[in-house]
């Protein structure tokens, strides 16, 4: 599971340049507008928007992502899992094929890409957690819940399936 982490340390915070709430609202407003633009258009926009306030321009520039760094990553859904694993053979339940798997607590929705043993990836299917089927402890206090998932792209003949799961909280 890929995760970011926090590390506690003893350092104290650096002296911050005081910014009033009013000034922050100004900076934030320009920053939010700039982020809507493609990177190549940002410089011209800033020149125009901060024509009479170069300090404001510098504040915004200092916060902007670096060249080539996407801002999309800042908007993605919280990813609860990024795991390769196997699920039992899906079973037919009404018109939907379903399987049970362990899922991190907190995952509500997500996407699943299923791959047959031959290596052919099926079309990505939506994950629907159909219900909590229980809890189990996994890896030093991390809890998972057993949940039922719908696998719309799966064949009944597929004996086992390798899945690539991502989930969101």
């Amino acid at each position: 599971m890929g995760n970011g982490s926090l590390v506690a340390a003893t350092r104290t915070a650096p002296d911050r340049v005081d910014m009033t709430p009013e000034r922050w609202q100004q900076v934030k407003s320009v920053l939010q507008e700039v982020l809507q633009l493609p990177p190549r258009e940002r410089k011209a926009f800033l020149q125009s928007a901060c024509e009479n306030d170069q300090a404001l321009r510098h504040e915004v520039e200092a916060l902007l992502p670096e060249e080539g760094e996407s801002t999309e990553g800042l908007l993605q859904s919280p990813v609860a899992a990024f795991i390769w694993g196997s699920v039992p053979a899906p079973r037919l339940c009404g018109k939907q094929r379903r399987a049970c798997c362990w899922w991190p607590i907190g995952a509500k929705t997500g996407r699943i890409v299923a791959t047959t043993p031959g290596g052919t990836a099926s079309s990505p299917g939506a994950l629907t957690v159909c219900g909590d089927l229980g809890l189990r402890e996994h890896d030093a206090g991390s809890f998972q819940r057993r949940a039922e998932i719908i696998l719309p792209g799966m064949s009944q003949n597929t004996p086992r399936t390798r899945i690539h799961r991502t989930g969101s909280c």
């Binding site: 340390a9 350092r11 915070a13 650096p14 911050r16 991190p104």
Partner: protein
């Protein structure tokens, strides 16, 4: 799980939904106790410990609340309390351990990839807390959004519902808050 505690938590969430603001204060001891217990179990024993804060919050909810009688909105309210308490518990723990082991990084707390800062796998928890306090002085709503997302694992949509605003607004605030925090933490590292 203590059935009496679950019953109390569920009743308090229902009272809170019906507008009884004192129910929120009454909930705090139950949630705090459970989160401390869960976090303590993860943090006990080793020098370098890892835990998933949002998983603990979810687990506390599963253990404390009788979900069948509650609505999605009650869950969000529970998480808003839990996010604040989780932050307090982790930062207190970090400060205590840091005091005992001066100069050492002694607590690792795992967050989901998307709520962690981009390209940042290790962040000073105490510095983050300081930065969030500074952000709250400039913009309390932004600080609250980060807290709910970081420590409570609330989605953009749930955060918007809780704060009675639109998901688009939460997204904008979330992005700019993270950029600001990123710069603050970078400055902390360089000193």
């Amino acid at each position: 799980m203590d059935p009496a505690a679950a019953n109390s938590v569920t009743k308090l969430l229902l009272r809170w939904r019906e507008g009884d603001s004192s129910a929120r204060d009454a909930l705090i001891p139950f949630v705090y106790k459970e989160l401390r217990r869960l976090a303590g179990r993860c943090l006990a024993g080793q020098n370098q410990q890892t835990l998933q804060s949002t998983a603990l919050v979810h687990e506390a909810y599963l253990r404390l609340a009788e979900q069948s009688t509650l609505r999605a909105n009650d869950r969000t309210h529970f998480f808003s309390i839990a996010a604040r308490l989780m932050r307090e518990i982790l930062v207190d723990h970090a400060r205590r351990r840091s005091a005992g082991k001066r100069g050492s990084n002694c607590l690792t707390v795992t967050f989901d990839d998307a709520v962690a800062l981009p390209g940042k796998r290790e962040i000073d928890l105490v510095a983050l807390d300081d930065a969030l306090n500074a952000l709250a002085e400039m913009d309390s709503r932004q600080s609250q959004i980060v807290e709910l997302r970081f420590f409570g694992g609330l989605s953009i949509e749930d955060t918007a519902e809780l704060l009675k605003t639109s998901p688009a607004t939460v997204k904008r605030e979330w992005v700019t808050a993270r950029l600001w925090l990123q710069r603050e933490l970078r400055q902390t590292e360089s000193t």
